[in-house]
């Protein structure tokens, strides 16, 4: 290892940074004698970069040379940028030495496509295999599965990686084909299927033989780019919802489009990545996974775009005043969860505490309910009845959005990654 690695690391991290995922959760694996490290299960963010995003893994490409020409990607072959390739020993050293200093939870490895998808995939598999078997690395490994890679290689990757991912990037196939002529949905969805089959098969085998090998125990994730193509939030969230219905899909990430290739006029010229929209998509995604919302409750053909002004849960409540007010001391958990200003944690606290006696507005506040929002949607012991029904939804909306008229940087509203790690 010497100074030349510095320059390579710079190039390859800059090439890898547009992949949003950095999660290290989903595998809990204590240290075993003779190995290095453990996996914490809940994921640990070790640092936060200047853009406020969590750094949990060493996110790096094996090489940023690529024979494909995807319009949205900094690494496309027609770009004149510095290219670099890490030697296997360099990659192994970086991972282990960073890990020993508690900089990272493990490695997130991806690569540009060199020669062929299978050739590239094989190189990646060899590295993660080496890390596990030769270097006895027991920390977290997330490996990108190369689009178009064959079943056997994906099968092998899953034996060593905690998580595998294949990025859809573009939610509709015609847009994908226009921007990434070498790719199609088949090349993305086939590896996703191989991963799912691998996980399910291993779970089945482990029922019979406790020692059967685990396959990608943290499942798979994917990513869609937001705002590079005309797809609506309805299109995007339908894809997410369909993906979450399949077993093993743990996370869908949304990446606000950063126009890295300004010269390509197939792409919109955005001054800034669509960060507010990205945040709303994460909130909607959250509703799908933890709040028991159906996708058609959040968006549909007549309402295809998320409201940028209010979060999707509040937007839903304002469209459905007939469901409110909710009686905090009586209603089911599911309905309490639907109240704007009440999150999963406070909903659970409410249900646990009300067994001891009726809850008052003051107690709700202490429990962590955002009363400023919730008050229009609930009744409890003594609250005066001035709910969304008496006030009318449009007035509640006005009351709740007023403050934002003060000049405020929208980016500062974004809180999305706080709970990112808790899957």
């Amino acid at each position: 290892m010497n100074e030349s690695v510095l320059e390579k690391l710079k190039i390859l991290a800059e090439s890898a940074r547009y992949d949003v995922s950095c999660s290290s959760s989903g595998t809990s694996r204590p240290n075993r004698e003779g190995t290095i490290g453990s996996a914490a299960g809940w994921g640990i963010c070790h640092s936060f970069a200047e853009d406020g995003r969590c750094i949990s893994l060493l996110k790096v490409m094996l090489t940023n040379s690529c024979m494909y020409d995807c319009a949205y990607c900094i690494n496309r072959r027609s770009n004149d940028i510095p290219r670099a390739t890490l030697a296997v020993s360099e990659l192994v050293d970086l991972t282990i030495e960073f890990y020993r200093r508690n900089y990272i939870e493990g490695l997130f490895l991806s690569s540009g496509i060199v020669r062929s998808p299978d050739y590239t995939m094989e190189r990646l598999v060899r590295i993660v295999k080496d890390l596990r078997t030769v270097h006895r690395f027991n920390g977290y490994i997330h490996m990108k599965s190369i689009p178009g890679a064959g079943r056997e290689l994906v099968q092998e990757a899953g034996l060593y990686a905690d998580r595998l991912s294949v990025n859809i990037e573009i939610p509709k196939e015609e847009s994908l084909k226009m921007l990434a002529p070498e790719k199609d949905f088949q090349s993305v969805f086939a590896p996703m299927r191989y991963i799912r089959d691998g996980v399910l098969q291993s779970a089945e085998e482990r029922k019979r033989f406790r020692h059967a090998p685990r396959f990608a125990p943290a499942g798979q994730s994917t990513q869609m780019i937001i705002g590079a193509t005309p797809e609506t939030d309805n299109d995007i969230l339908r894809v997410s919802s369909a993906l979450y219905k399949r077993p093993t899909m743990k996370r869908v990430y949304y990446s606000g489009f950063v126009p890295v290739n300004g010269y390509d006029n197939r792409l919109p010229a955005l001054k800034q990545p669509p960060l507010v929209r990205e945040n709303r998509l994460y909130q909607a995604d959250w509703l799908l996974r933890f709040y028991q919302f159906k996708v058609e409750e959040i968006v549909d053909d007549s309402y295809p775009l998320l409201d940028l002004e209010v979060d999707p849960k509040l937007a839903w409540a304002l469209r459905h005043p007939e469901c409110f007010p909710v009686d905090i001391n009586r209603a089911d958990y599911e309905m309490i969860l639907r109240v704007p200003g009440i999150g999963v944690k406070s909903a659970k606290l409410i249900v646990a505490s009300r067994r001891y006696g009726r809850l008052s507005a003051e107690q709700l506040k202490k429990i962590g309910v955002v009363m400023k929002k919730a008050r229009y949607f609930i009744t409890c012991n003594e609250l005066p009845m001035l709910t969304v029904n008496e006030l009318k939804p449009e007035n509640v909306r006005r009351l709740l959005t007023q403050k934002k008229n003060r000049k405020q940087d929208d980016r500062q509203l974004i809180l999305l990654f706080r709970e990112q790690e808790q899957e």
Binding site: M1, N2, E3, V5, L6, L9, K10, A13, E14, A16, R17, Y18, P30, N31, G34, T35, I36, G37, S38, A40, I44, C45, H46, S47, F48, A49, E50, D51, G52, R53, I55, L58, K59, V60, L94, E97, F98, R100, R101, N102, Y103, V258, P273, L275, L349, A352, S353, R354, R355, Y356, G357, L359, Q363, K366, I367, R411, Q412, I414, F417, R418
Partner: protein
């Protein structure tokens, strides 16, 4: 107003509980030895910490409370907050007096307050796991120093021992001036009568570093810089997740 004076140890607190019940007088205020007394008070009672009494109270609590409630007591004790003794006393008393434990009644101000402290200490514990940074010394020991808000190093020993099982390490609390050393077999608590410079600054000086340490620090700093997307720079968000008070000892934030 009834005042009890105790030695500010967990055993002392449990003895307070025992004595209060046997005397049928309950403290309104708990003070450490030598702490200033308020102007008006009825009675001052000095508790003599007693292992046996403490154990009896703890055993009774173990029978009545869930694991979570017990951890709420032991973990929030590490907050070292001035009011923690009295708060815990009230919490324990409420649990003893109620026909069934009140541990989940977050409508009760003491239960809520304690659960908040418990969460804060838990968060600080997690932050040690996040932001602790080892530097490798020439003798092969990995050294890390921090100044956690609460006394949370002991809560992280199991984690560190498991994760860094095959390297020697020393983690050190600069504020409380003690630490833990792991010699590949066991973890022992350590205090140093003589303070080497790194026990004051928290950082190893170059002359006692491993020969590759500087290179890996540079690599990490380079990575930290390169991974940020320039179009999304957001220092406020960064600070929200990684409070500035940790930066002093973060490798990536060193000049």
């Amino acid at each position: 107003m009834h005042i009890f004076i105790y030695d500010k140890t967990p055993e002392g607190l449990l003895t307070v509980v025992f004595d209060a019940y046997s005397r049928k007088i309950f403290p309104d205020l708990l003070l450490g030895e030598g702490e200033p007394l308020p102007l008006f008070h009825d009675e001052i009672y000095t508790v003599v910490t007693d292992e046996d009494k403490a154990n009896r109270v703890w055993n009774a609590l173990e029978k009545k409370l869930s694991k979570v409630a017990l951890s709420m007591i032991t973990v929030s004790w590490l907050s070292e907050l001035p009011e923690i003794g009295l708060l815990l006393f009230r919490y324990i008393r409420k649990n003893i007096d109620a026909p069934c434990a009140v541990e989940m009644n977050f409508g009760d101000p003491d239960v809520l307050e304690l659960s908040k402290i418990w969460k804060k200490v838990g968060q600080e514990k997690h932050r040690v796991q996040q932001f602790l940074r080892f530097q490798k010394a020439a003798d092969g020991t990995y050294f890390a120093a921090m100044e956690p808000l609460y006394n949370v190093l002991p809560l992280n020993i199991a984690f560190l021992k498991d994760r860094f099982a095959d390297q020697q390490w020393l983690v050190y609390d600069l504020k409380r001036e003690y630490g833990y050393y792991y010699d590949l077999h066991e973890v022992i608590e350590v205090r140093f009568p003589e303070k080497e410079p790194h026990l004051l600054s928290g950082l190893l000086s170059e002359d006692i570093m491993d020969k590759d340490e500087i290179l890996f620090q540079q690599l990490w700093k380079q990575y930290f810089k390169s991974i940020a997307v320039k179009e999304r720079i957001n220092p406020k968000l960064q600070r929200q997740f990684m409070p500035v008070r940790f930066w002093k000892y973060l490798t990536e934030k060193q000049g």
